[in-house]
């Protein structure tokens, strides 16, 4: 099933809709968004210069820093009294980025998530258990309203307490699971340890996964644990652009269909900012063309991918993006939480007794991301008693938990034992496949 006719427009129809909406959005930004108007003036471009989609690349980029510099509401493009909801990204480096939705934005968002859910095999007969954390993150409420709009029964189970999740899955006979892929695998492992075989004893047949990418080996593992007939799809989004609903996989599993009538994708060279020819790999840049509260133009996602234009067997004509290959910055996604090494560094610098060098090792243990941070001990006063060393470890762990919002293992190592770098330090070892 295809939810919206806008998913099957001809290229010509799509492009004329995109151009019309782009023009409106640029006008809106120029009139109502002072920081972006300033950027446009600096670039020497005015709204009337946008005559074709080709002109998009003349517009200045928007970055996360633009949102931070105008925290919390300075980047909104509507009067504040028209905003009816705000969300925020994990404000791990200092302040979070705050995003605002008008009533129309919420309706659009709901509609777009419904499309993604239908693409992944959801129907109105589903009982959907949402195991994303409810709160300032967009993931849970995005899927919640999208699935409700479809007509499914929505169980807002939120995240954590895996045994209770399994009880809900069993007792409510949930047929659809919303979670990060790694958490879904973890739930399956815990269920098995409890003597419940998810493939036989549970009714889940559809998994809509997001918050982090899914690799092909994870997908295979998903089939093994949840059953071969499970529909395993991933979808993509970020709060700055809207939340979930930007793109999602259809059951052909040949990339994620971008809701192009709402978001224009471009691929750029992250170093030069130059737009790359169709089919090349680079940083994904998205322009929101159907939003009121926060219609970011040419937002740099920092995610590396490739766009696929060939027609899809599912019947949708929208362009697809491949699984995210990596980041153009050093951001890590740990259990669905965005982590920058610079945040870890900031915490470590404030702890006395340890040196300035560190190494971050990310691995996946029992399907859950595990992060270990090695730091060099340099304070001999801690050597009197073993308990002083463990207290130091606990102190670092605690401070990291406060800042990152997740627990990390801390390992004290001998001084000078960590690698030194002459140029740019390579402090992260990511062992996840």
């Amino acid at each position: 099933m295809i939810w919206s006719k806008n998913e099957t427009l001809t290229r010509g129809e799509m492009e004329s809709l995109q151009l019309e909406r782009l023009k409106e959005t640029v006008n809106r930004m120029y009139e109502k968004n002072e920081p972006y108007r300033k950027k446009m003036s600096e670039a020497g471009i005015r709204p009337e210069d946008i005559r074709s989609l080709e002109d998009l690349k003349r517009l200045p980029f928007t970055t996360k820093d633009d949102l931070r510099d105008n925290y919390p509401y300075g980047y909104f493009s509507t009067p504040k009294n028209e905003i009816v909801r705000i969300h925020a990204s994990s404000g791990t480096t200092g302040k979070p980025t705050v995003v605002g939705y008008t009533r129309k934005d919420l309706e659009t968002w709901t509609e777009l998530v419904t499309r993604i859910a239908v693409m992944g095999g959801a129907t109105k007969d589903d009982i959907a258990q949402i195991c994303f954390g409810y709160g300032m993150f967009t993931g849970a409420l995005g899927l919640h309203y999208g699935l409700e709009n479809l007509g499914a029964i929505v169980a807002p189970a939120s995240s954590g307490n895996t045994e209770k999740q399994i009880m809900y899955l069993k007792d409510f006979e949930s047929t659809l699971l919303v979670a990060t892929p790694s958490y879904a695998l973890h739930i399956a492992e815990v269920a098995r340890a409890m003597g419940i075989d998810p493939a036989k004893d549970l009714k889940v047949k559809t998994g809509l996964f997001g918050g982090e990418g899914i690799t092909e080996s994870m997908r295979e593992e998903m089939y093994r644990l949840w059953g071969r007939d499970m529909k395993v799809t991933q979808n993509y989004g970020m709060s700055e652009l809207m939340g979930p609903g930007i793109s999602g996989e259809c059951l052909e599993l040949q990339g994620m269909h971008i809701n192009e009538d709402n978001f224009i994708p471009e691929i750029i060279n992250p170093e030069t900012g130059e737009v790359l020819p169709a089919g090349e790999e680079g940083e994904l840049v998205i322009s929101c063309i159907n939003k009121e509260g926060l219609p970011l133009i040419r937002y740099r996602t920092k995610d590396i991918t490739r766009l696929v234009n060939e027609p899809c067997k599912c019947g949708r004509t929208t362009v697809r993006m491949e699984s995210i290959k990596g980041r153009s910055d050093d951001m890590l996604v740990i259990r669905g939480v965005n982590v920058f090494p610079s945040q870890i560094e900031e915490v470590l610098l404030k702890v006395s007794g340890i040196g300035p060098h560190y190494e971050i090792i990310v691995d996946r243990v029992n399907h859950l991301d595990n992060i270990e941070i090695k730091v060099e001990l340099c304070d001999d006063n801690k050597l009197d008693l073993y308990s002083q060393l463990t207290a130091l470890e606990e102190e670092i762990k605690h401070k990291l938990r406060v800042v990152l919002g997740l627990s990390a293992n801390v390992k004290l190592v001998a001084p000078h034992s960590l690698r030194r770098f002459e140029g740019k330090a390579k402090r992260v070892v990511d062992l996840r496949k």
Partner: protein
């Protein structure tokens, strides 16, 4: 009073030897040794014949270490001896953090190394109770 070296070592193959090989090179003799470990790291405690020299050399070689005063007591080699000493410490209300014994004693009587919070008081009380305080020159 004896000087003990506490050295931070990682719990990895060969990590103790990184210490002993440095000591060997400088002809420093180890008289007592103990380790306290977790799965990740440990504290190696040693008593050597030239503690200041050992500290300087190990620090030059990049180790984190600390010199701590400890007390050593001579025990008779017979049942109940350790219990007697521990009773003295307990009755005095002193906190004993750890104990370990000497590697080799030429006169064959055991020598026990103890780290106690208040060393001077401990030494005095142990002496009052007839416990012989040991030295390296024994």
């Amino acid at each position: 009073m004896l000087k003990q070296l506490s050295i931070f070592v990682e719990n990895e193959i060969g990590s103790l030897r990184t210490v002993t090989s440095v000591l060997k090179k400088h002809n420093i003799n180890i008289r007592a040794i103990a380790t306290f470990d977790s799965p990740e790291f440990g504290i190696l405690r040693i008593i050597v014949d030239k503690p200041e020299l050992a500290r300087d050399i190990l620090e030059e070689n990049g180790f984190v270490l600390k010199i701590t005063n400890v007390i050593a007591v001579n025990l008779e080699d017979r049942p109940g001896e350790l219990d007697k000493v521990l009773a003295v410490i307990e009755n005095a209300g002193l906190n004993l953090n750890y104990i370990y014994s000497f590697v080799i004693r030429e006169d064959n009587s055991p020598l026990l190394v103890m780290h106690i919070d208040d060393l001077e008081i401990a030494k005095q009380i142990l002496s009052e109770h007839g416990v012989k305080i040991g030295t390296l020159e024994d």
